[in-house]
């Protein structure tokens, strides 16, 4: 059991800034996120897209914003538990126990849910046979390249992941690249490499078409693809790789007994506390009258929530509001002299 002052669920921009707001108040926190890196939607959905409404930052990308936030919280040496999803939340007297899918247990008087729209999961193929082969001969990510040597591989998708893996795996396997339209979205260099491999016969491109059905028993034997004009084609294939991006699933959060409206959690706009004392919700996942799903709103929400977290974590101490410009205590916590 890992004890801390605040368990933060979600490592997006608001979760990261929560570490800061708690840290300058002298509170310890840990961060749990289902993705393999910090940044949330900023990193996963729009790392290169410029954001123009972060106060005093005229323009920055999702990746830059994440980098700056991580730099800002460095002094607090916060522990991140990535690739982990919170499955269970239980009450124990004035504390909360959080259990993850990797069986880590955490205990704290406060939980801040900064979960965005939930956890990211790969968007799955929709033909009904797909599930049967998942993890055996149909994959939504490549964990170990060795398993993809000397095979017939069909890759679905037209974005970076599909193109990059088509190139990489074409070094030792025959690749079919299937996309619903003739344009691919990728870096110019990647696109020209794909063209080269196509000429060499290492990558066969099939467009504009989509998956129609999968044929096989234990393993996939072949697939049928369907062109826009209705024509079908059979491709002998051992492995399917599908890259249709990520979707957001609320997941277990819905089962924690919180008052919810559709996919958002009701909070009071003073402390951003949910109907459960000590559980807070901030950022895109919370709702209150006038709520705006902006990063800057999330920063405000977490600043206020952290005050209540302090009161619960340090019931015998008085909370004092301080400015970072003048407080020697805060400056000390930030490692400044």
């Amino acid at each position: 059991m890992i004890k801390t002052d605040v368990i933060i669920i979600g490592a997006g921009p608001v979760g990261l800034f929560a570490v800061h707001q708690l840290g300058i108040k002298g509170l310890k926190s840990i961060v749990i996120d289902n993705l393999d890196k910090a940044g949330g939607q900023c990193i996963e959905l729009y790392p290169d897209k410029p954001i123009y409404d972060i106060p005093a930052v005229p323009e920055c990308t999702g990746e830059e914003l994440t980098g700056k936030l991580l730099e800002q919280i460095k002094p607090f040496k916060t522990k991140f538990f990535l690739n982990e999803r919170v499955d269970e939340v239980k009450q124990e007297k004035d504390n909360w126990i959080v259990k993850t899918n990797k069986s880590n247990n955490f205990l704290a008087p406060n939980i801040i849910i900064a979960g965005g729209v939930g956890s990211f999961e790969p968007r799955k193929l929709t033909v009904k046979e797909a599930e049967k082969y998942e993890g055996k001969s149909l994959f939504y990510s490549v964990k170990n390249k060795e398993n993809f040597k000397n095979k017939n591989i069909t890759i679905f998708g037209g974005g970076d992941s599909a193109l990059d893996w088509a190139l990489e795996l074409s070094k030792f396997s025959k690749i079919y690249l299937v996309h619903r339209r003739s344009d691919f979205r990728g870096a110019p260099h990647t696109l020209s490499e794909i063209k080269k491999k196509e000429k060499e016969g290492k990558i066969l491109i099939k467009t504009p078409c989509q998956l129609d059905s999968i044929v096989g028993n234990e393993n996939i034997e072949s697939i049928n693809i369907k062109y826009d004009d209705g024509k079908k084609e059979k491709i002998n294939t051992d492995i399917i790789l599908s890259f249709f991006g990520l979707i957001m699933k609320l997941g277990p959060i819905a089962e924690w007994g919180l008052n919810m409206d559709k996919k958002t959690i009701d909070v009071d706009p003073e402390k951003f506390e949910t109907n459960k004392k000590g559980i807070f919700a901030v950022g895109d996942i919370c709702s209150y009258p006038g709520k705006l799903k902006l990063i800057l709103s999330g920063f405000h929400e977490v600043a206020l929530a952290s005050v209540e977290c302090f009161k619960r974590a340090r019931p015998n101490e008085k909370y004092r509001f301080e400015f970072t410009t003048s407080s020697k205590t805060i400056q000390g916590r930030l490692g400044k002299k």
Binding site: Q41, L45, Y46, V117, R123, T126, G157, G158, G159, H179, R180, R181, D183, R185, D228, F244, G245, I247, M248, K249, K263, D284, K293
Partner: protein
């Protein structure tokens, strides 16, 4: 106000008066139209407000920009008349527009 008709996968249709300037997605969310999730809130980052636009209307709409087309690749069962409803801004010219929501959004 402009009349927009939302048809779900079971052919149930609902016609709503949507304020001009809002998006077709916002019109759905504000009026509790099922079948449009809009997880990302309209930032063109999730493809869960995906709709099929009636053919005669599809050609009248301003063309989808590259980012939208890329995102539609990720949508559930995209078709030739697929659009993201968060990118369709309601105006007088769209009066009578009919959109159909897919079987599911994700």
């Amino acid at each position: 106000m402009t009349k927009i008709t939302y048809v779900d996968k079971d052919k149930n249709s609902k016609t709503i008066e949507v304020e001009n300037g809002l998006t077709v997605m916002e019109g759905a969310i504000q009026n509790n139209i099922p079948g449009i999730d809009a997880d990302c809130g309209g930032s063109m980052a999730c493809a869960t407000c995906h709709v099929y636009v009636e053919e005669k209307w599809f050609n009248k709409l301003p063309k989808a920009e590259e980012g939208e087309i890329d995102m539609i690749d990720m949508a559930f069962e995209p078709k030739k008349n697929s659009r993201l409803s968060c990118q369709l801004i309601v105006s007088e010219e769209l009066d009578g527009l009919t959109v159909t929501t897919p079987e599911k959004q994700s």
